[in-house]
Amino acid sequence: MKSASAKSREPGVESQGASVGRWNTIFWVLTSVLCLLASGCIRSEPPADLTIINQAEPETLDPALLTGIPEMRIAIGLFEGLTRLDPKTAAAIPGLAQSWEISPDGKVYTFHLRTNLVWSTGEPITANDVVYSWIRTLHPATASDYAGQLFFVKNAEDFNAGKIKDSSLVGIHAPDTFTVRVELNNPTSFFIDICAMPLTYVVPRQTIEKYGDRWLMARPLPSSGPFELVYWRLNDKVRLKKNPRYWDATNTRSDIIDILPIGSPTTAFNLYEQGVVDIIWDKEVVPQELLDVLVKRPDVHPFNYLAIYYVNFNVTRKPFNDPRVRMALALAVDRERIVKKITRGGERPTSHLVPDGTANYVSAEGLAYNPTLAKTLLAEAGYPGGKGFPRVEYIFNAPAGGGSKIHEDIAIELQQMWHDTLGINMDLRQVEWKVWLSATSHLDYDLGRGDWIGDYDDANTFLDLFLSNSGNNRTGWKNPRYDALVNEANEQTDLQEREKLFQQAETILIHDELPIIPLYIYAGINYYHTNISGIYQNILDDHPLNYIKKSATRD
């Protein structure tokens, strides 16, 4: 493309003047660009009262769409539902509704809204706004992932599937300005908890109708919660400021809160140690290597989390189609070793699925560590000492953005345990997150890691996972008796009766059939110093922002 012309012209002395001129021009252009750039980086804004590290950039702040913890932690400040969660216990307490009645058959809920509710922009919040918000979540065009949480409401599922077009047939209505009436398909004992979930938050109709999918970019953004959205800069910062019109604004303890999406443990921890940020919510966002030292510090606040780590078997493939093989592998796992050696943050080994501490429920007993029995079972299944056992592959996902290697470490540990106890050889396969999701949901794997975080404090948020028709059942395991027991329990209003049914179902899962091996119950860690008050450790790791305050000095 370039052709140096053959002209034998020497770039001699006579062109020097021009040459110097050019270099001068380059120099001045570069310098002025630099000055411009430098001035562009400077931002002046009031400092925040509180700066929090949230582990990821929120995928969305639309309550109807969001599904993840980092999103919920911000949305909880911006919007509110009929109920909200108590900061200490994470139990549902009155939110926009100040009270409610439940009909004797447990199917009709009548909520009474507070009469002093207004949007941050001044307009009143009415029962119609509540109905609008619920219907919006269910509307097919909204395409909400979590709409299923509202399928307890009469006709909600058919409306979401497009089988019913008329939204007035859905079981939520506003008989008057301050009353919301909800009809359910069946009595649902945890329905009040559902009313505190983001997908039921009350959202501003006019803004949404005006701006469509980009309504969260509207400023001012009307909020129904304790804070307003000042700005949201992608991968940079979400800034909230106190909403003075919130019904409980007198109890909002911070004026400006900055929330930073930082997933790199080293970066997050550096900022925290330098005092740039005040709170880190997640154990994973602090370098794993430092845990042994950190757990002894006063700013480390551990808690039991409503979440569980387990191993999935693909029961449609040999050799894991034989329950004896699955049991043998389960019996050969020394869970104590995994939590002491690898996770090290106070996780509790568990042989059952539903985490200890779940409301109204005590789990059934699973299979404890028993290498002798494990060997016997494997021999019974036709693989004495691991002879003839096919080579299997354990699949796990790679950590995102420099996160910790927990999955890999656990995989290696399991590989070793099964090799030593049972003589089984297993390959490890680390894949990208999306590949893991795709392989496990299409049953294109042998065995691999799994985990689940409870949506609300009830056993059914875990036991529902392994229903035959559950999309989150990544094992291929189907058991009609299990399905019948769980479904019966879900409709049972007597709590003790319900617990018994759930226990029977769980026994099938973790004692008789073992499509999974439960490993441990998650422990979470919140990091913050003593100058921060209003944070309480609860099983949902739920932290309403309006209670949190930073005082000037540490104790």
Partner: protein, 304 residues
């Protein structure tokens, strides 16, 4: 005329790039809405696919995409559902470009003097030290250099902030971490260029005429020696301006580099294709700029 032709040729090239990246990201296993929590009913999945037209054949989706592209709309992000790809670029690109330009200036500001100095002192200890530094800069990757700089200048000496993007001071460490490789590369190229130029005939002739060594170096050799650096500058600038995943991740800088990598990992189809196109446009434009600069710097170069 020549440049006009180049610009026209770029259009089919961009089409090919968009089609190829569109197709590649679609055939990768897993989709944007494969997630840990599978929705409660298949209809929910269908609602999502219908909303983003993922239920259509890929060629139709591509045509739909092209239609948006012609109107300057790169589509909605499938991962960050409140944002469009245009939003993401509008917010991230200025940041990446700021950091990239700083790193570019750093690379030239350090690389050119170092190359000149080592060439002028060739064979002496200054040359060996300088060349060693340049080689080191090329060899040490950003994910090693960045934490090293943070530990020394932010944590031990406390001169500079550890991360974030709010004040000019916060730009210094990422600028060095991002620009070091290019600085080393520029120094080496420039040194080579100088040495070659000093051996060329016109320099010998000038020397024979009794021209002083300094004048020779500054006025004559430099003009020839800078040409390889100029050719390298185009791709280098494109690379620096589009952001670096590693540097942005370590210093928590809200640039565009993180989105390109995460977009691919998240199967955020529109983000991947949009950013691939952006990168291609920048690369083409800057290469063109380089060629243009050539005609300006070296009168011997002509295009037809």
């Amino acid at each position: 005329m020549y440049f006009l032709k180049r610009i026209i040729f770029a259009i089919p090239l961009l089409l090919v790039i968009s089609a190829l990246s569109f197709w590649l990201v679609h055939i990768a296993p897993g989709g944007p809405f494969d997630r840990e929590r599978v929705p409660a009913s298949p209809e929910i999945e269908r609602n999502l696919e219908a909303k983003y037209h993922l239920n259509e054949p890929v060629w139709k989706q591509y045509l739909r995409y092209l239609d948006g592209l012609v109107h300057g709309d790169l589509g909605p992000s499938l991962k960050y559902r409140d944002h469009t790809v245009n939003d993401i670029i509008a917010q991230g690109l200025p940041v990446s470009m700021t950091l990239g330009s700083l790193a570019f200036c750093f690379a030239l500001g350090i690389g050119l003097p170092l190359g000149f100095f080592t060439a002028a002192r060739r064979g002496r200890w200054e040359d060996y030290t300088g060349s060693f530094l340049a080689t080191l800069a090329v060899c040490v990757p950003g994910f090693v250099l960045a934490p090293f700089l943070i530990v020394v200048f932010a944590i031990k000496l406390k001169w500079l902030p550890v991360a974030l993007w709010e004040s000019p001071a916060q730009a210094i460490l990422p600028m060095i971490a991002l620009g070091a490789y290019s600085a080393g590369k520029v120094a080496r190229l420039f040194r080579e260029g100088m040495l070659n130029a000093l051996q060329s005939e016109f320099v010998t002739a000038a020397r024979a005429k009794g021209l002083g060594e300094n004048r020779l170096l500054f006025k004559h050799a430099v003009r020839i020696a800078v040409l390889p650096v100029v050719s390298y500058s185009g791709p280098m600038l494109a690379d620096l301006l589009t952001g670096s995943f590693i540097i942005e991740n370590i210093f928590q800088i809200p640039g565009i580099g993180v989105f390109l990598i995460n977009g691919a990992l998240n199967r955020d189809y529109t983000v991947v294709v949009g950013l691939a196109l952006l990168y291609a446009v920048l690369l083409i434009a800057l290469n063109l700029a380089v060629d243009f600069a050539y005609t300006w710097l070296d009168p011997r170069v002509k295009y037809e």
